[in-house]
Symmetry: C2
Subunit: 367 residues, 2 copies
């Protein structure tokens, strides 16, 4: 297998700064630490990201191609996303524009099991375009949705999908809805002679989605929908592998999630679902978060909130020993300081530098 | 349980347009269809989003508070994110700024099981701030990482976490790395008397993460890390519930994923992990995608790519019957047209309107 895949970024930058900026991204998306602190020749040669090209695309806009080690991915879709854009997604001046994979890596993921041709074949569509509509609004009962489905299907649609808002809700349990809609569409298909497909929307975690697919299969269905950005790429990948006979629609829900304010996403939502500590990029480090953003994030993490335990803020991202005092004064003692690369840079003095860090925190006198 | 939670958005808008814009978001994040087409009074009263307040925050920037039905969520973290920002994340002029939950809903999620105080207690930190560093670069062997871990721990750090790039890779398998690092840190803790915690990073799908937690527990560890935006909120939520004795770090990886170009995310990545059809917002509808973006997305979905099957593009998001011809000419026949609200708006004529749609597609003569 070729040992690199390529991430293509669009970066807003001053022309004088783009070369250094590109190197920074290559490091961020691979080893995430100062190269000077890496002693292992194999890591330097095989794992550190490589800037392959920089090309101007517009005024102060550059396309940067970075080769990343395929060995960092294995065959894990979540890890792919993590290596492509995990940290760099936090830089507001960078867009992940494209990716290129060696063939072996692409084949390892496998792509669509049915694809466009398979969907076309399912509904016997010949060469024409396919048709689809959606069952909504959420809030209707299974019987009401089934009635709607039957009315859609009787018109000869190819696919009738759930609105992505339909989950497993009190007003319309997945099992009841799917049984009712599948039966309704089967009746319609018998009447029209056209094999209309009902496409239920999956929700919840991997186990719940598995159970939902089994319910769908038992109702005679062969096509489902999920939102990979909500479900997680690895969840989607696993379901595709476990149910090769099923076709999957992907919904773009959350495809624009960057624009969740950090205090909300990291300070509140991550806390809500049970994180005990939240790592985030401190101001003045490698990322663009402002002091105001960091202050709001920490406040959200700690604020009284319906009796939920506070979550520990962990400011990070390029912190250095000489900033410990300032960071502590900023966050107070109810914080966890995370310093990585700066300590690693100490090389043979790593233990001492770390001890300095430990001591600086222990002995700090708050302003 | 109070029946509404509140999503707070920041919206860039002309002052004259903000009231209508806010209503549009309230509909998008709830029923996602024209209100005039909803006949069920219960849905109108209980499920449709409600604009609770609009307040100017700066020139052409408004804060919009929208009440959404708690019944649409149940207790599913993925569905929460879906309802908070699923589709609206695709609008470049909207930021999800905050959320407010009724107490019962917050308690149903449960928040941190250990929280800041629990982490503090784990390492006997008293009132001082906590300390942490990270094991990297990826590419090192388990023995090299363990050596690093021991050197960190001997300095008396509270937590030593994996870099979020460390997964289950050939050069450092999770099981070997965790066993080696846990032993190294235990040796150091014996020497220092300080109960330093090693925090391995989880990767893969729910089943793999479960197995990784069991490996960590068997090695005597009680703290792990994951990236909720990569793993999926529901995955994180499930693990927190299944392993209440374990403390979880959340990593912000992918927290800025909005800035993945749509052709890349939806046309390539969703295809890569096995989607057979990809729904996306067509230009000229309810979302801001340009014709160029849509063209590139469809091209990516269909282009030859290492033998992967093409994925079916499904342009959607406010499409209407009168646009069928234009959409077909734009995408060609290798597409699936998705029309939802516009057909639903036909009310009693739904079947006829749908049949018109079916026919328009069947009979279209491409330019």
């Amino acid at each position: 297998m070729s040992d690199r895949f390529t991430a293509v970024y669009r970066v807003r930058s001053d022309p004088a700064a783009i070369a250094a900026r590109a190197e920074t991204i290559a490091v961020e998306q691979s080893v995430e630490m100062p190269l000077a602190a890496i002693e292992e020749p194999r890591v330097l040669a095989q794992v550190v990201g490589r800037v392959e090209a920089i090309e101007a695309r517009a005024e102060n806009l550059f396309e940067v191609r970075i080769g990343l080690a395929a060995a960092t991915i294995g065959e894990d879709a979540g890890q792919l996303l993590n290596m492509l854009f995990g940290n760099t997604s936090l830089h507001e001046d960078v867009v992940l524009h494209d990716l290129e994979l060696p063939a072996a890596l692409a084949r390892a993921f496998g792509g669509p099991r049915h694809g466009a041709a398979g969907l076309r074949g399912l509904v016997g569509a010949g060469q024409r375009a396919l048709t689809c509509s959606a069952l909504k609004p959420q809030g209707l009962s299974p019987a009401q949705l089934a009635d709607l489905a039957e009315r859609f299907a009787r018109a000869g649609l190819d696919f009738v999908k759930d609105d992505h808002g339909l989950a497993d809700q009190d007003f319309s349990r997945f099992a009841e809805r799917v049984a009712a809609c599948a039966a309704a569409i089967a009746r319609a298909a018998d009447a029209t002679g056209h094999p209309t497909r009902y496409v239920p929307s999956l929700s919840g975690d991997l186990d719940r989605m598995r159970a939902q697919i089994r319910i769908a299969r038992a109702a005679g269905l062969d096509t489902v929908m999920l939102a990979p950005m909500v479900a997680g790429f690895a969840t989607a990948q696993r379901l595709v592998r476990e149910f090769p006979e099923v076709a999957f629609f992907a919904h773009p829900s959350l495809g624009g999630a960057a624009r969740i304010a950090a205090p909300c996403l990291i300070g509140k939502l991550f806390r809500l679902i049970g994180a005990d500590a939240v790592v985030f990029p401190n101001h003045g480090g490698r990322f663009g978060y402002s002091p105001d953003t960091c202050r709001a994030l920490a406040a959200a993490a700690r604020a009284p909130w319906h009796g939920l335990a506070p979550v520990m803020p962990v400011p990070a991202g390029g912190m250095t020993l000489d900033r410990v005092g300032e960071i502590l004064d900023f966050y107070g003692s109810e914080a966890m300081l995370l310093i990585g690369g700066s300590l690693l840079s100490a090389g043979p003095r790593l233990t001492e530098a770390t001890a300095d860090f430990v001591r600086a925190v222990a002995e700090h006198r708050y302003r």
